[in-house]
């Protein structure tokens, strides 16, 4: 520190806040950090806040989870219940169940915290899925954000498993049935299945270990990894700066919006409280996982309507609709009826996760993209996304087939058959329909650009014909509707070179050209209006 600055500091006594900041800057370099970030710009759009819902519900889960650990006993020792809930008096149960009963009935506010924890968990995973779909359908995963897409995807997967292990901890009849299912699935793994099961459960099912083991996975291992990924995810969001939709003044080289301090800080900070408030109110109004009604787990008891929490529902659907294939050969059993769903389960998720990489390989596009696509302007991607969602949704239906059967008076067998067929057919239909809708919307945009907006005013021409008056679009609208890029399909080029020698084209490149043709060929996009077309039409104005 030079003497001049030192003396000038002495001259005027800096306010306390500044002095603290100075102290911190000398050790942490916060001024340089703040210079880059304090007035960082964030665009305003409701769909950009979906990720915030995830972040905040994650924080809420951690806060409430820590509280729950103060009362929960992760032990499977059998005890007799003597709490305040009458219908379970004297029943044998594990300490885990007993302590969850204690939290629910004897700790003041314990039930509320438990319900907030569980509701927030359901909302957390739901919000992650919706957030991921927002990123997918707007093409926000493109360079430079592919790595962040993967971080987000990992968070979704880890969130599912953290949820599953948490759901299993109270050791109630419903979650115990879920754990039994998981154990059965582990057993189906060829060669090592029985060993894995024995190691996981410390012996035969259910044994006396799994609650304690799931507990450390649920409160330490998985959330630890997730916390790291969340931080990395956020750092990258800051580093990349947020994407934005096309519009006047918004280019690929800038970001338009409100500064972090004060607007965004107030909005984002306020949104945390809003999310927490809504979840707290929901937890006051709606019951979740009433374990006292379910009873303690016993491997010889069960209830109909045994389902996992919703985010595992699609795997439940897979396992429910799979035919019971089993191959017995040379003294060994290949349990395909369980193992195939177990293999498809991660593949369902991976199918959507790899799309960004397939897309970038097909386009060969190496540029950065900060302007979001409107879903209609990427018909193949949008159609793929909708097809995937349809697939996922069909499996969710399969996972709840018994409840749909009783509530819509259908046969459970028919629903199962419907899901079996729809598993293959529905995504294809969804793909075709979505693509057509996208192309239709592109055509409408083109019409709007070239002929203006339908004003709803009907005019009668002198010769008797009725026409609707079209209002020309403003410069802003014209720009917004034509700002998107359209990829051209890849050409492999001539198959023979100038010397007449056949050029070898690798199979992968042929595939790539084919995919590119499918994604960007004539059938997959409507050429956007050109300036020339526009001028030609508008110069002869008066015609419609």
């Amino acid at each position: 520190m030079s003497t001049t600055t030192a003396s000038s500091t002495e001259k005027r006594k800096a306010p306390a806040g500044e002095r603290v900041a100075d102290w911190a800057d000398g050790r942490l370099g916060i001024y340089s950090l703040a210079k880059a970030n304090m007035r960082k710009i964030f665009p305003d759009h409701w769909s950009f806040m979906l990720g915030e819902i995830c972040l905040y519900s994650f924080i809420i889960i951690i806060l409430t989870g820590v509280y729950l650990t103060l009362f929960f006993h992760p032990s499977m020792n059998e005890v007799e219940y003597h709490g305040s809930y009458v219908p379970l008096q004297g029943q044998l149960m594990s300490e885990a169940f007993n302590s969850t009963m204690h939290i629910s009935f004897d700790v003041r506010g314990g039930l509320l915290i438990r319900q907030i924890h569980h509701w927030a968990a359901l909302i957390f995973v739901a919000a992650m899925l919706v957030h991921m779909m927002r990123v997918f359908f707007t093409g926000a995963f493109r360079k430079p954000r592919e790595v962040n897409w993967l971080f987000g995807f990992l968070l979704l997967v880890l969130g599912m498993f953290t949820g599953f292990t948490g759901y299993s901890l109270p050791d109630d009849l419903l979650s115990g049935t879920g754990v039994r299912f998981m154990q059965g699935a582990v057993l189906s793994v060829p060669i090592v299945g029985t060993y894995l099961s024995m190691f996981l459960f410390g012996g035969e099912f259910p044994g006396g270990d799994f609650v304690a083991r799931f507990y450390s996975v649920h409160i330490l291992l998985l959330p630890g990894i997730m916390l790291g990924l969340v931080v990395a995810h956020l750092i990258l969001v800051f580093y990349h700066k947020h994407t934005q939709f096309a519009g006047p003044g918004k280019t690929n080289k800038n970001v338009v919006g409100m500064p972090l301090l004060p607007v965004y800080m107030a909005k984002a900070g306020g949104f945390f409280f809003l999310v927490f408030g809504v979840i707290a109110a929901i937890s006051a109004l709606a019951s979740i996982n009433p374990i006292w009604a379910l009873g303690p787990y016993r491997p010889d008891q069960v209830s109909t309507g045994a389902q996992p929490d919703w985010y595992m529902g699609f795997s439940e659907g897979l396992i429910r609709v799979m035919p019971g294939w089993e191959i017995n050969l040379w003294g060994h059993t290949l349990v395909l009826g369980v193992f195939i769903p177990l293999v498809i389960f991660p593949l369902v998720l991976v199918a959507i996760a790899v799309w960004p990489f397939i897309e970038s390989w097909v386009t060969g596009d190496k540029r950065e993209h900060h302007i979001l696509d409107r879903p209609r302007n990427a018909p193949t991607r949008t159609a793929f996304g909708v097809a995937w969602l349809t697939w996922y949704f069909v499996l969710l239906i399969g996972g709840g087939n018994d409840l749909w059967a009783t509530h819509f008076h259908l046969s459970i067998n028919s629903i199962t058959w419907f899901v079996r067929i729809a598993f293959f057919v529905a995504p294809v239909i969804a793909f075709i329909i979505t693509k057509r809708i996208c192309l239709g919307l592109q055509r409408r945009d083109k019409d709007k650009v070239l002929h203006g907006r339908e004003s709803g005013i009907i005019k009668r021409l002198p010769h008797g014909e009725f026409i609707e008056v079209h209002e020309p679009l403003s410069q802003e609208q014209l720009h917004t509707l034509t700002a998107h890029e359209q990829n051209k399909p890849l050409e492999l080029g001539p198959t023979v070179d100038e010397n007449g020698v056949e050029r070898k084209v690798k199979g992968s490149q042929k595939l790539r050209a084919k995919l590119s043709q499918g994604m960007y060929g004539e059938d997959s996009q409507i050429p956007k209006p050109t300036a020339e077309e526009y001028k030609e039409i508008t110069s002869g104005h008066g015609h419609h």
């Binding site: 024995m198 970001v255 109004l285 369980v338």
Partner: protein, 350 residues
Amino acid sequence: MSSQDIPEENLPVAQADGADLEKHGDNPFADPGLPPHEHRIQDIDERAAKRSERTVAFLFTLSMLATIGFIASYVAFPVDKSIYVWPIGHISALNFALGMTLGVALFCIGAGAVHWARTLMSDEEIADERHAIEAPPEVKAKVLADFKQGAKESAIGRRKLIRNTMFGALTLVPLSGVVLLRDLGPLPEDKLRHTLWAKGKLLVNQNTNEPLRPSDVAVGSLTFAKPEGLEEHDHDFQTQIAKAALMIVRIEPDDIKDKQELEWSHEGIVAYSKICTHVGCPISLYEQQTHHVLCPCHQSTFDLTDGARVIFGPAGHALPQLRIGVNEEGYLQALGDFEEPVGPAFWERG
């Protein structure tokens, strides 16, 4: 992922048409730039701004009151007090009061902050420049050069022996961690093949804890049994019942299609494992007219008149049947253990 076979000019990088259009001054689609800022009511009308200020302050105050309400409810309501709230029903007064006050306290802070931001903080949109994420070529060159220098100084490329032994050591060291996992559980051995059932063990009714007589079991009835000697208080009750749970029904012997099933039954009383062969749910949705048993978890359906063969759903094989008879005192007894492993299939099942 190479693009070597595709001519450069076909790549979309070369196709960006938006950029060259912008060069034309008369492009009708050109970006008109950020629209001018429009004032909100609060920006020009101080009364409106005051109103906003009061709203925000009101929300923050409401939050404070709600927090006081939270503390008051915590103290005032007994933990087991029940109230009727329309249309929800009879609910815990404490949970309802705590949740609603906490919800309001939090929501109002958020609503106040957002309203403040929306109405009183500047809403002028600002454009910030983006900077390329890729490092400029000279930086890249410097880094590569530094890296080469470092690698060269370490001589890792030249002294292959060091490199290879180091990789070897690093690969082996995690094995210690893997080995440590061995004691997580015992080896499977033949644990999954045996249950508590053995010759002479009585079938004990799970409801009454009394051994069953054939006359107890009527056609169309459903009874669950456990092996004699297994008590709920036993330390391994859960693990044993997970394999030994039994489902007992009586079928008119003429209705039994499977020969072995009839042989292993006693006067039409058949004893099947209650544990589904799919993934192990206790299967017991017995339809007494069709003699089908449905699993509530994944809907595998078994036909009890035909050796509990699978007739629908994901289960891969029939439910194991326990051979039963009657002892001298007239009680139902097992004539041995299950002849095949009960529950979900596994690799060594065969």
